[in-house]
Symmetry: C2
Subunit: 412 residues, 2 copies
């Protein structure tokens, strides 16, 4: 059971979390709980680090920001004990959760689940574990996993103790076919395959951290996204509660062609005009961008009409737009282009579904439907279970609603 920052924002909410845990324990389940820091705490700690030193030592940053989860884990454990449930808190270094040495962006390497399993069996003890953090084996210093890392902690711990399921309690009650604020007829999915969720999360859906889904897929940890606002007393622990199960595609009986539609407005388009159509030009463009740590997403290059020059279009995060143009300017002589165009008022719409593997013409139907509504497609990329379209931001809602209906995702 993993609870986010808003679910543990004060003592009353921590007590509510404890009641959720008690319900599962009373139902005979063995439970590990992963806690985030109280909402706002990590932001305040990060701000203090910025104030202390603009370029701060990442090892000290980790020691500071890891304290938030330590507080909530201790408070939750003592609340559980006061309810008569055997429980204890575990910090990353105590379990231990070993990670890489990449401070502030560490990756989990190894978790020893044996001690937890022994305590489940011997004492029916609930393990309350700090999310977001670990320890580096050689240096013995505290590491953190980066923002949203508690989801990843939860899935990794679920894998280490061979949990039946990893329940992510969050402020939404599941994964939807698309953002319900944009499409009121969006539906909650009962199940979604790991690969689809990975694409959804990567393409802008903010329910889960991408790495947690990757980890779930690799270790086959079934992840269940559910609401932390449901009253603990109203839930039957033996029935299937409302929520979305992220699982292996084999567990999903009737696979839809399209499962969901994601969109991201934080995109910027850059077109490099009249470059020579010869080997090495793409490298001349993308190597300097990579060195500037700019993440390039969609890349589209047409076969040149004249066999001599062509245009190359790609997207970058909107925040990196100016820096990307500067980088290209500096590399102009080595690349050899006529000019660089760009736009920041663009949106990437992604249509995702494992069914695309076996169904032809899925994308073609989208092109037609958008054309009928006179929505211009600036660029297209496709992968095995997804295609993405770059359109003008003004048409975002219209496009998403059109595609949502087109693929039969609207609620009855």
């Amino acid at each position: 059971m993993k609870f986010g920052g808003t679910s543990v924002a004060d003592i009353d909410r921590i007590r509510n979390v404890a009641r959720h845990v008690k319900r599962e324990v009373d139902a005979g389940h063995q439970v590990a709980v992963v806690t985030s820091a109280m909402a706002g705490t990590t932001n305040r700690l990060v701000e203090w680090c910025r104030e202390a030193a603009v370029l701060h030592d990442a090892r000290e940053y980790d020691a500071v920001v890891a304290s938030g989860e330590q507080i909530t884990a201790g408070l939750l454990a003592m609340t559980l004990e006061a309810m008569g449930i055997t429980a204890r808190s575990w910090q990353g270094w105590q379990l231990p959760i070993y990670t890489s040495e990449a401070h502030a962006t560490a990756r989990i390497l190894d978790i020893n689940g044996a001690e937890l399993i022994a305590r489940f069996k011997e004492r029916n003890e609930v393990a309350v574990i700090t999310g977001f953090q670990g320890v580096h084996r050689e240096t013995g210093r505290i590491t953190t996993l980066g923002r949203g890392g508690s989801d990843t902690s939860a899935v990794a711990i679920a894998a280490a103790i061979a949990a039946e399921r990893c329940d992510i309690y969050t402020d939404v009650d599941g994964v939807y076919t698309t953002d319900p604020r944009v499409v009121p007829r969006a539906q909650r999915l009962d199940k979604i395959a790991f690969e689809e969720m990975l694409e959804l999360a990567s393409q802008g859906a903010k329910v889960l951290q991408v790495r947690s889904v990757e980890l779930g897929m690799v270790h086959n940890v079934r992840i269940f996204v559910r609401s932390s606002f449901d009253k603990p007393e109203d839930i039957d622990p033996h029935a299937t509660p409302p929520g979305t199960l992220i699982c292996d595609e084999g567990e999903i009986m009737e696979q839809q062609v399209v499962t969901g539609i994601a969109f991201s407005k934080d995109e910027a388009q850059i077109s490099v005009r009249r470059i020579e159509d010869k080997p090495g030009v793409a490298a001349a463009i993308f190597v300097p961008l990579a060195e500037a740590n700019i993440n390039v997403d969609m890349i589209v290059q047409n076969v040149s009409a004249d066999g001599a020059t062509t245009d190359l279009t790609f997207t970058v995060p909107a925040a990196d737009f100016d820096r990307a143009k500067d980088t290209l300017n500096k590399a102009k002589s080595t690349i050899g282009y006529e000019r660089v165009d760009g736009a920041t008022d663009v949106t990437k719409v992604s249509v995702i579904g494992i069914g695309m593997r076996s169904h032809a013409g899925v994308a073609a139907r989208a092109f037609q439907a958008l054309a009928e509504r006179r929505i211009n497609i600036r660029a297209i990329t496709t992968s095995e279970i997804k295609f993405s379209l770059l359109i003008d931001s003004a048409f975002t809602e219209l496009a998403v609603r059109t595609l949502h209906s087109l693929y039969g995702l609207d609620k009855a």
Copy 2:
């Protein structure tokens, strides 16, 4: 160097602390720094624990409240690094600082200073260490030392690294002959012996935690109390700064007869009237009080005049007055007394000085001086280097000022 909560209350003050540290490093000193939590932080954490569960698990309490020092240690280390000083933070479990398992009131058992000394020599690295906390060797769980424990941490670490001196930076600039708010002519002491400081701290002076002085005495760690409000730049690290050195009495050339006068208003007097003057009666009184966890301080019993009955007077903390009377009521039949009197408007005034060992009649002069001012003495106790008088609270200031002048402590 140890800094209290008000000295690290925000990033600006932490930066000021870093400048104090830099001054010492620049002067060629090898430095370990002990930090408290930001002022207010520990109170808030304690309050959360109380809200979570009235009777909370002390192990979880410790995990929660230890987080405050972790934050300031990390912030100070990164601030030092930003100033170009090699530094790293150490939490109690990292060093490690091994303690007893008495959570929330743990005692330090062992600190390994070898790693710190090696880093002083090899890298001139400043050690920034969390005060107030440690770890229990067998359970691997975080422990805390009780309120004010950072003073004790600092002295223990100073002993472990064989430090030349342990500087306690605080909100006063040293130890005074008595409270300057009561006696404006009180003087800062340049030096005071461990034994004297121990008595002063035990008798109500709040400059230092009693245990830290005990530890300093046992391990002969010279403790220097100084102000954290002095501007770091104004201090010559090679000169003796303003402050009070707590040291072995051998280091104090000209020992005064009386060094200081402490007083405590948080006292209550209880008199048990007409008890039988026979063996076992004192035990019948004090065993039930001890079992009720009531701390009895001054005890006075006169030789009975009639050889049959006598009165017994003692003091307890004012907060325990009612509970103490209840306890005596319940034990009335086993004790066998006529009645119990009491008063809470009493003050204990203590006169302290190693010179009393070799000077006779020191206390007698006090009795005379107070009698001249018509101050009634309710009870008297004496020890080798101290005597204490119980008086009516109304006369506190007059009594302290009278004794301060009497023993030549007034500032010229």
